[in-house]
C-alpha cells in the first residue's frame, strides 16, 4: 500500500504520535542533526543523515538491567533483586535505511535458540521504523556494497520517499499499513511513480559497489601480518568514535552503580578500540596495540560475523565511522587493502 503525505502533515503526524508514544526523530541541534525524543514544538530535520544512528531505540547507550534494594545489616533483611525489563513502544521516524538495518545485525546474536536477550527483544518488538529513503547519497555511503541500497525496506515498517510537496509512504509491514490508515495520508496517485523514479535515480548516483566478496577469507589470511595492520591503524587515536556512532556495533559492558541502599546493574555501549576492552586480570592483553584492535573490528564485521551468520556483513554501509573519525580512517579502504594485498610477500 502506498499513500501520500504532505511535508506539514508528516510533521503533524509525528507530533500526534509523540503524544501517545515515544518518538525518536532527527532534529537540528547545535549545527548538526541528531536523534532526539520528539517533544512538542520540535521540527523534524530530514536535510541530512543524523550524526549518531537511531540505535538507541533498540539498544540504548545505557540501560538498567536489574535493581537491588539493600537493607542495613541490623534490619536482618536480605537484599531484594528486581528485573528491570523495558516497557512501552517507540516509533523512529526519519532514520535512513542503513540505520534501520542496524538491528538486523543484532538479531542473530541477541536471539538464538539457546539465549534470548529480553531487553533487546522487547525493545525491538515494541519499535516501529518509519524510514526515509535517501535521495542523494553522500560520498561516505556504501550501503550498496553490503547488500543494501538507498531505498532498502528491510527492517522498516514504512518507507518514505521524498517527492514534490511531501512524501510517498509505502507500508512494508502490517504495523506500517495500520499507521497509513491515518486521515493525514492521502491517495498517492501518480506520486508513487515519481517515488519509484527517485529511488532508482538515487541508486544510480551511488555508482559502482565495492566488491567485498573475498574480505572474509583475506582478513583471516592477513591476521598475522602485523605490518599491514600497523600501517592501516597508524592514524588511529583509539578514540572509539567509530564504534559509538555505528548502528551495527553491538558490544556492551556491564557495570554496577550504587546510591544509598539501591544499586543498579547497567549495560552500556562498549568500544573494542579501547585498550581496556580485553585487558585481563593478569595484566596480559591479547589486543595490546591499536593495530590488534582495528584488526578485530574489521575481522568481526567482515569475516567472523559473516562466517557465523550466513555471509551477512556486520556493517550497513552508513559511513558514520568514516565521517566521524578524527584521524581519517576509512573502513572501505582498510577492507579493500586487505583484499588487494599481494598474497606472497
Amino acid at each position: 500500500m502506498e499513500r501520500f503525505i504532505t511535508q506539514d502533515n508528516l510533521q503533524r503526524f509525528a507530533a500526534g504520535l509523540a503524544e501517545k508514544k515515544n518518538v525518536l526523530a532527527p532534529v537540528a541541534s547545535g549545527g548538526t542533526t541528531t536523534f532526539r525524543r520528539l517533544r512538542p514544538g520540535m521540527q523534524l530535520d530530514f536535510s541530512r543523515m543524523a550524526v549518531i544512528s537511531p540505535k538507541d531505540a533498540t539498544f540504548p547507550r545505557n540501560e538498567t538491567l536489574l535493581t537491588v534494594q539493600h537493607y542495613p545489616e541490623e534490619s536482618g533483611k536480605r537484599m531484594e533483586l528486581q528485573e528491570h525489563l523495558p516497557e512501552g513502544e517507540m516509533v523512529v521516524i526519519g532514520c535512513r535505511p542503513c540505520g534501520t538495518r542496524g538491528k538486523l545485525v543484532f538479531d542473530p546474536v541477541y536471539e538464538t535458540q539457546a539465549i534470548k536477550d529480553p531487553y533487546y527483544i522487547r525493545r525491538r518488538d515494541g519499535a516501529t521504523f518509519i524510514t526515509l529513503a535517501c535521495a542523494r547519497p553522500e560520498t561516505t555511503c556504501f550501503c550498496h556494497s553490503v547488500g543494501s541500497g538507498p531505498a532498502d525496506e528491510e527492517g522498516s515498517d514504512i518507507l518514505l520517499t521524498a517527492v514534490e510537496g511531501g512524501f510517498v509512504a509505502k507500508a512494508v509491514t502490517e504495523k506500517g499499513e495500520q499507521l497509513l490508515g491515518d486521515s493525514l495520508f492521502e491517495d498517492a496517485g501518480a506520486k508513487a511513480e515519481e517515488a519509484a523514479a527517485s529511488n532508482a535515480s538515487a541508486r544510480k548516483l551511488m555508482g559502482e559497489a565495492h566488491d567485498f566478496s573475498s574480505a572474509a577469507e583475506k582478513l583471516l589470511k592477513r591476521f598475522d601480518d602485523m605490518d599491514f595492520w600497523q600501517t592501516q591503524s597508524d592514524k588511529c587515536i583509539s578514540c572509539g568514535a567509530c564504534t559509538y556512532m555505528c548502528p551495527t556495533c553491538y558490544c556492551f559492558n556491564i557495570t554496577d552503580d550504587e546510591a544509598g541502599l539501591v544499586s543498579r546493574r547497567l549495560r552500556t555501549w562498549d568500544n573494542c578500540m579501547s585498550h581496556t576492552f580485553t585487558l585481563e586480570g593478569s595484566g596480559h592483553n591479547p589486543r595490546s596495540t591499536k593495530a590488534h584492535r582495528l584488526k578485530n573490528r574489521m575481522g568481526h564485521k567482515f569475516s567472523y560475523y559473516p562466517d557465523l551468520h550466513g555471509g551477512q556483513i556486520a556493517c550497513c554501509g552508513c559511513g558514520r565511522c568514516i565521517k566521524q573519525c578524527p584521524a581519517g580512517v576509512d573502513i572501505r579502504q582498510v577492507v579493500m587493502a586487505a583484499q588487494e594485498y599481494p598474497d606472497e610477500r
Binding site: L220, F223, C251, I254, D256, E258, D270
Partner: protein, 276 residues
C-alpha cells in the same frame, strides 16, 4: 540459567577460606532450595559472581559435581569486584549466574593417564576436575598433579594438599620458584620441573592452566616431551562480561570463549587466529 540470562540467582556465602595472601575461596549455597538441589554442572564450567553495587566477574566453579553441598569459587584479588568479594563473610548475599561455558571433555579422558599442571590461581579450574577424578578414580589410569606457585604461601588449597600428597592413587608434586626455609618439595619453574619429571605422552592427557607466561613455556615443555596437540587441554581466562555470547568481548576470531570455551585443546587453539 534463568529465562533472562542476565538475572542472577541469589546465594548465601556459607564459608570463606583464606587460601593465600590474595586468594580466598567462597562456598555458596543458592537460596532457592529447589534450584540448589537440581543445580547441575560439569568440571570446567564457570559462573558469574555478583557483589551488587560493585559488579560481576567470572570464576570457575572449582568444587566437584560429585560434592554438591556447596559451590566453591576461588577468587584472586586484582580489582574492584574481587576486592569487594574479599570483604564478604559467612551469611552475606551474592548473585550467581551459572553454569556457563563448555566443560572439560571428561568422557574422552576415561581410561587414560591424566597429567595436571597448574600454576598459581590456575589451580582453581584444575581442582574441580582433579577432585572429580578422585571421586571417580577407577575411570582413569595414573593421575599426576604438578602444582606450582611463586612461594609456599601462594599455594592455594593448603587444607587439601596433605591429603593429596599422602594418597597413593595419585602422584602429587609441588614446586615453588625459589628456596624457602622449611620447604621440602621441588624448587624451580613449572616447565623445568615438568621436563625433570619426564612424563610419558603414552595414552596421556595433559591439562594445564596458569598465567599466560607459564602456559607458554609449559606448552613448549610438553612439545619437547612429545605430547601431541590433541593431548593438551587448557582453559582460557579471556576477559568476559555477559558469559552468554552476546557482549562481544571474549572472541578469538569466530570462537567465543564464553560459549565455545573456556576449555580448548591445544589443537583447537592452533586452528584459531593467533590472539591469545
Amino acid at each position: 540459567m534463568n529465562a533472562n540470562p542476565y538475572l542472577p540467582d541469589m546465594a548465601t556465602v556459607v564459608e570463606v577460606i583464606e587460601e593465600t595472601p590474595n586468594i580466598k575461596s567462597f562456598r555458596l549455597v543458592l537460596n532457592d532450595e529447589e534450584k540448589m538441589r537440581s543445580f547441575s554442572f560439569k568440571p570446567g564450567q564457570v559462573g558469574q559472581l555478583s557483589v551488587f553495587g560493585a559488579g560481576e566477574s567470572t570464576f570457575v566453579i572449582n568444587s566437584s559435581p560429585t560434592r554438591m553441598e556447596y559451590l566453591q569459587f576461588s577468587v584472586m584479588r586484582v580489582g574492584e569486584v574481587t576486592t569487594r568479594l574479599h570483604q564478604l563473610k559467612a551469611g552475606d548475599q551474592v548473585g550467581v549466574r551459572a553454569p556457563l561455558g563448555k566443560p572439560f571433555p571428561v568422557e574422552d579422558m576415561q581410561g587414560k593417564n591424566i597429567l595436571f599442571i597448574g600454576g598459581g590461581i590456575g589451580m582453581a579450574p584444575l581442582r574441580t576436575l582433579f577432585t572429580y577424578m578422585l571421586d571417580t578414580r577407577d575411570d582413569y589410569q595414573d593421575i599426576t598433579l604438578l602444582y606450582g606457585a611463586r612461594s609456599p604461601v601462594d599455594l592455594t588449597y593448603q587444607a587439601e594438599l596433605p591429603d593429596w600428597l599422602a594418597r597413593e592413587d595419585v602422584k602429587t608434586v609441588l614446586c615453588v620458584d625459589n628456596e624457602y626455609p622449611g620447604w621440602e618439595h621441588k624448587v624451580g619453574l613449572i616447565p623445568n620441573i615438568l621436563l625433570e619429571m619426564n612424563p610419558s605422552p603414552e595414552k596421556t592427557v595433559a591439562i594445564t592452566c596458569g598465567p599466560p607466561i607459564m602456559i607458554k613455556f609449559t606448552l613448549q615443555a610438553l612439545k619437547k616431551l612429545n605430547f601431541a596437540d590433541e593431548q593438551i587441554i587448557t582453559t582460557l581466562e579471556k576477559r568476559m562480561k555477559c558469559g552468554v555470547g552476546i557482549c562481544g568481548r571474549c572472541n578469538i576470531g569466530t570462537q567465543y570463549v564464553c560459549l565455545d570455551g573456556p576449555v580448548f585443546t591445544y589443537a583447537q587453539l592452533k586452528e584459531l587466529p593467533s590472539e591469545l
